[in-house]
Symmetry: D2
Subunit: 284 residues, 4 copies
């Protein structure tokens, strides 16, 4: 039994849904999940579809070839097909904060995440013992102003060597350069510790405290070249009051950050996120 | 341009989605929305589909006829088709509490609700001035132990006379009899002032206070013969603390009740709710 | 039985709490509620205290005089004393949106709000029928670029004539001038339709839609001269998704706006809000 | 500088607050935090107070003696005094689920929790490696029907040997006997995977799925002899839909459970919880 997930977007027009479902039927597939969305402002059609194929000689490659030459061409679709056989490979970038790391590795360990973590990269050694206790290779790549370029080359080398599919910045605290971003477009997930677009940049909890907000938040988004301005995948908030010091906000925020980041990682690895126009369509 | 909403459920098997989308295409329809769900425990397939028909000689009736004789028969579907031309007619049953009434009528007045309210029924006269100010006919049908049956007959008469599609009990405070329920199966929406299944029955805020819960809730559900045990449409909760008296819980609860009930009414009138096995599938 | 609410803030130092509670005891009062807060960054002490006095010759005025000449002087306190006998008088400023109006008047009517509404001011006539149905005097004061100053004078005249204590802008949609703000410092409550500081200014739902946020919010704050930058009283949020159009966000937002505004009004009239440093301390 | 936390409850009557604050002042203390609550139904007064003492010859013991013989006696108070010098000692009881364990140990490691964990007890060996990686002694005490009594004696021995202050059942999955409960009244914290009082007992996620609820929850409470009926410390909920399988509910619930349990542990160790009448007063 082969199972594929198909993600499509294209200009909206009549009969796309019927055409696609027909195509799948002809190829011998049984659709087990279908969801679609039309952005009426932009006139763009989005679809996510899961199909099972029992026919012996089905291969993802031949399906791709067939799809590409017929429907994809006809409707000028942008599309991706994922086989359920391949677990996405995630690289984890960390620094000194451990809460997202513990949370992700705890979930990974218990089988909650459908992915592989070939290695962890950090610019500091502080969290190496945690990586060790989970038996995940840890690469210490220090980053200074002078070595930033060199460090990034080392990172890229590792990413390529292990065929990494996507990167998670689990409170990495470093600005990632355009070189990396362009190599992994909509494939670098960051967790920002505010409800974006409020409090872009450094020290958002300090800014939240100063403004006297009654809610704080966390936002997981894909990294783009503009700081904290990439497509938002997931957000959540918590209520706070005047009794909370900055330290309290940071502590409360940690719980938001780890849950929001974990949810974003799950949505991404389940192929439920489509990006366009700097926004996301989440088929959940 | 005709627009229909089609709701289907049947035993799950291969190729349902492709068959339905094909059928719609052959009938000249363009699917603008499709959503589906499979209950893997019960092996039941659910689908909600919106389709537009531009062909001049399309009628909902002929479509129904055709659908019934082909697909519906083949897959042994249970199905409903709604034309967007028909606004559902809602009867509002109230008693002495006004918060849900103000909220629903305010929304109705501002055009937020896609429905008609031919009349309001109450067992008390207290809220008549509100009905009057919104210019909605108000029928006072008192209910006592002795007159319960007679009162219900009057209610049924009005419901039939105005071709009512569904009933909303906006804190009606009376138990509705099986006669009414059987006449309007999954068409009587109640708001219960607790997060069901906690605190079934009378005085849930008192029970919540006594138990010392830290959250209170409200639940909108379809009425079935078992008290507060019907299919849940919508729920929401609010955090409370030891500082809240029973009176405070009631006040906080009112805000939950009116929002939860309004949301349930909208889901119902948008044909987004399917009921099976005493549960709901909400295509939102 | 007289009951007063005392609000104090001053530089933090030792023994303030004991001194105040002692003073109340000597005056014959029984403290029924006490809450305090210290802002450790600014070193400011805040206190809210409710006390009952049964002694026959107690008057709020003599208590004030005594408090002023002793404790208030010694600790250089800023303070306010409210007698529970006086209901605050609220002026309601509205424009064309009716959801906050219906919500506030519904609560007012059912006795949920501890205040009086001597009149409603609007720059449009659209909502006059609602004011009429609740039997609240409605003053139509149109505002154009040319008549803005004159309109404000008329408003001020009414506010003074009726001894208005505070103003609520229930989606008034006009920028209030410094003249009014200075006359009612921390006494003009606005509802802004975003989770501030995100989306300051006009059309926040459009901006939220464009940015692709996964939560929208509403913020109630005191009006200061800087637009949407005054002390925040209350905030709440709701989850949204790519399926929500701008119109959907606006509809969902209405429910947030009315609840958040009503909560802010209640906190204000219950004398639970203290303002300093452009932030609020909420003793709830 | 000595700092104490004082928790009081007694029958409500006049001048308690003034009497206590006076007493503290006379003893040379400076009150830095005061909060109080009156249960008007039961007529019980509750107070939590933090005070700093700079006088050289202050001791918690002499303060206790003095307080006991004067105020406590006069007002017939039930009271507890904690010195900030003593970190509470927590015993962790676990079984096979690791999410609460990882979460608590991660927080413990990063210094977020103000407590000590002398040891972990489990009836299974599965999670020993996690305890080892955090370098916390792990005691394997298997529990079977036949050995239950013997196992409990071993537990009690360890608890006494290490002067354990309170016990946390982090998904321990065993019913704790009356012997243990009576020895640690309101000192055994459990996490139940439902919003109590809904779904008491085993398999609450299965029951929630069956009932078709739209919210699931988690509840942390003190253990009493009646199953899942003890005083509730903290609750939280998450929205779910028909798309969630039981497995999904369990996964979503894990995130609730770990946050709710961690919050309850923090409230308990910060001495912010008072219990009476099978309910809690939470001074947060």
């Amino acid at each position: 039994m082969n199972k594929i997930t198909l993600l499509i977007h294209c200009k909206d027009r009549s009969n796309i849904i019927a055409s696609v479902t027909n195509f799948i039927a002809k190829e011998g597939g049984n659709i087990v999940y279908i969801d679609q969305h039309v952005d009426r402002e932009q006139n763009i059609f989005f679809m996510r579809l899961e199909s099972e194929f029992t026919i012996g000689n089905f291969t993802t490659d031949s399906f791709k070839e067939s799809f590409k030459n017929t429907l994809a061409d006809e409707f000028e679709m942008k599309w991706r097909i994922y086989s359920s056989e391949n677990k996405p490979k995630m690289a984890l970038f960390i620094s000194k904060y451990d809460h997202c790391l513990y949370d992700l590795l705890g979930r990974y360990n218990s089988g909650e995440l459908n992915l592989e973590i070939p290695f962890i990269i950090s610019n500091h050694l502080d969290l190496k013992p945690i990586a060790d206790s989970f038996k995940i290779p840890f690469h210490h790549i220090p980053v200074t102003k002078d070595t930033k370029n060199e460090a990034e080359n080392k990172q890229l080398e590792l990413l390529e060597q292990y065929n990494i599919d996507f990167i998670v910045l689990a409170r990495y605290m470093q600005i990632v350069s355009g070189k990396l971003i362009n190599k992994y477009p909509n494939k670098i997930i960051n967790i920002h510790h505010s409800f974006l677009p409020a409090f872009v940049g450094a020290k958002p909890y300090h800014s939240a405290y100063k403004r006297g907000v009654k809610i704080i938040g966390a936002t997981s988004h894909y990294v783009t070249e503009e700081l904290d301005a990439g497509p938002i995948i997931e957000q959540d908030v918590a209520h706070v009051s005047h009794t909370h010091s900055i330290k309290d906000l940071i502590a409360k925020g940690r719980d938001l950050e780890k849950i929001v980041l974990a949810n974003a990682v799950k949505l991404h690895t389940d192929r439920k996120v489509m990006v366009y126009n700097n926004k996301t369509v989440i088929f959940s």
